[in-house]
């Protein structure tokens, strides 16, 4: 009814909508499209996994029983090795990050940070090669020593592996691989500690370490958790290094030093895919679906944990 009032003749030309807006519209289209593609890809991956895994979920293989019976040892291996890797990597990363952000003289801080970032650029196959040819043989004596003198601790019990391709070696390699990502994220958070807070603590007569405990670590706590979650995500999905270093099988065993180790889901897929029959392929894909689900849960948990305190501080 008001069409005649808004008729095109009454609009000043300089105010008209299509005035040189081609670039704007095109860019909006590209951005929206890119955003949409991500959703489509994620959905496609999920659909592929579920469709291909379905036969293995519904019918069990007589050799392995149902799917859960098959995947449980690999699931255990995946979570166990990732947990060990984080146990090693998080304290070391926080230490390196604190050194770079608060202890190192400026001339040293930048090169050290650069070297740590460089570590992230090393391909995982190289870590695998290094682990199997250098680290594993090097750690054999340590394995023997640990089983001999600390064998009464269940984790260190059993016969020491002669090759060093154990849970301990593999989790060490994995720890080194997740170290750069955790270090650089926590470093960034530590650097963002408000100067004013640090001075407040020092002015009260805190030593540097006391100041770090009083101000820097509480400020960076959610960042440390977020970085660890990202590291965990990387560790859970890491395939090549584990597949090469760990001599793994289908079992549940928390022992760190023996030659009988649970394999991980990803390494098992990589090692088994080439030789699998069609039933086997479905089963491997089903284990992939389990890994996918875990990774999503870890990421969501990370977001939940870091989301809370961050909103508060803003």
């Amino acid at each position: 009814m008001s069409d005649d009032i808004r008729s095109i003749e009454t609009v000043d030309e300089s105010l008209m909508a299509d005035h040189g807006n081609v670039g704007d519209a095109a860019f909006r289209g590209i951005s929206t499209g890119s955003g949409g593609i991500i959703m489509v890809i994620l959905a496609a991956v999920a659909v592929f996994l579920i469709a291909q895994a379905a036969p293995a979920i519904t019918t069990g293989d007589p050799r392995y029983g149902n799917l859960w019976g098959y995947v449980a040892p690999y699931l255990f291996g995946t979570i166990w090795i990732s947990f060990l890797a984080l146990l090693i990597a998080v304290p070391v990363s926080v230490g390196i990050a604190l050194y770079i952000s608060h202890y190192a003289p400026k001339k040293l801080a930048t090169p050290v940070a650069f070297v740590v970032d460089l570590l992230a650029a090393v391909p995982s196959i190289v870590f695998g090669l290094w682990g199997i040819t250098t680290l594993a043989p090097m750690l054999v004596p340590a394995h023997q020593w640990l089983t001999e003198y600390l064998g009464f601790i269940p984790l260190f019990s059993g016969t020491a592996s002669g090759t060093g391709r154990t849970m301990l070696t593999a989790s060490l390699v994995l720890a080194i691989m997740v170290l750069p990502i955790i270090t650089s994220l926590t470093r960034e958070v530590f650097l963002r500690t408000p100067k004013l807070q640090e001075e407040a603590s020092l002015a009260l007569g805190a030593t540097k370490w006391e100041m770090i405990r009083q101000v820097v670590l509480p400020f960076g706590r959610s960042g440390i958790v977020a970085a660890s979650m990202l590291g965990l995500g990387r560790a859970l999905g890491e395939t090549m290094a584990v597949a090469m270093v760990l001599s793994g099988g289908r079992m549940i065993s928390p022992r760190l030093l023996t030659s009988e180790n649970p394999n991980t889901i990803a390494a098992n897929i990589a090692l088994g895919f080439a030789e699998a029959d069609s039933g086997g392929v479905h089963r491997l894909i089903a284990t992939g679906l389990v890994l996918f689900a875990i990774t999503i849960v870890v990421n969501m948990a990370g977001r939940l944990i870091t989301g809370g305190p961050r909103k508060e501080s803003r």
């Binding site: 407040a200 020092l202 009260l204």
Partner: protein, 259 residues
């Protein structure tokens, strides 16, 4: 509590740049001493040199002596951490620890020095410090609430409570009211009046009315031009500085002709 401070021929450098030249003065115990002067004249630099916070700035270096009673705080074997335990500081921006409750903020300095202390003793310190900072009545029912939930003026008084909880000999204040509204400013100024009964107070301020309201003695700092070191032009009783200054520069500054 409350010691006397004496600055002897103090020169302060940032790298090669001489920021402050030849400052000497005596700061009497249980009094309020104000530093005034235009921006960049070195008054905050001098203040930060009094509790060795200055050396946290990279390249900053101090020559000369700063005596706390008879002890030179720049003597070779003096630990800056110990100096800061005896000389408290309140900053321009209120900076309570955001992750701590009001109670824990007050106890932050205590926690550093003596780990184990009975709860009753801690409660006593919290109450005494918050009363000392004129904040007790406003927060006594929510001591476990986070410290950054308070208003700006309350936060600044919380910072003062935190500083006096460890019973320092001297309390340094670096423009403590410049981020506060007039009502909060008045509350902090009233507090400064009370603090001088127990502490030696040194305050840097941009606000000349504030200096004339709260201080017993006033030091006027000035620079000749950019790139030249700041100097202490005149140091005298506040009343004299604001009514009958000896130096022409001081008079021009307090009458608003520059700065």
């Amino acid at each position: 509590m409350a010691k006397r401070m004496e600055l002897k021929n103090l020169n302060i450098f940032y790298g090669d740049f001489k920021a402050v030249e030849n400052v000497s003065m005596v700061i009497e115990p249980r009094s309020v001493t104000a530093f005034i002067g235009p921006s960049g004249c070195g008054k905050s630099t001098v203040l930060r040199s009094l509790d060795r916070m200055l050396e946290l700035t990279s390249g900053a270096r101090v020559e000369g002596q700063v005596l706390l009673d008879e002890q030179d705080i720049y003597a070779p074997r003096v630990d800056p951490v110990r100096v800061r335990q005896q000389i408290g500081m309140v900053f321009q921006q209120p900076n309570p620890f955001p992750t701590m409750s009001i109670r824990d903020n007050v106890l932050a300095g205590i926690q550093l020095n003596s780990r184990r202390m009975p709860k009753a003793r801690k409660d006593e310190i919290v109450e005494r410090s918050l009363k000392g900072a004129n904040l007790w009545n406003e927060v006594k029912d929510r001591l476990n609430a986070p410290g950054n939930g308070l208003s700006g003026g309350q936060q600044q008084r919380l910072c003062i409570a935190r500083a006096i909880a460890i019973q320092p000999e001297v309390l340094l204040m670096d423009e403590p009211c410049s981020a506060l509204d007039p009502v909060s400013t008045l509350a902090v100024e009233d507090l400064i009046h009370e603090l001088k009964e127990n502490y030696t107070v040194v305050i840097v301020t941009h606000n000349m009315q504030q200096a004339s309201r709260v201080s017993d003695k006033t030091g006027f700092f000035n620079i000749k031009g950019t790139g030249t070191p700041g100097r202490l032009i005149e140091f005298d009783a506040t009343e004299k500085i604001f009514t009958n200054p000896s130096e022409q520069d001081t008079e021009r500054y307090i009458t608003g002709q520059f700065g």
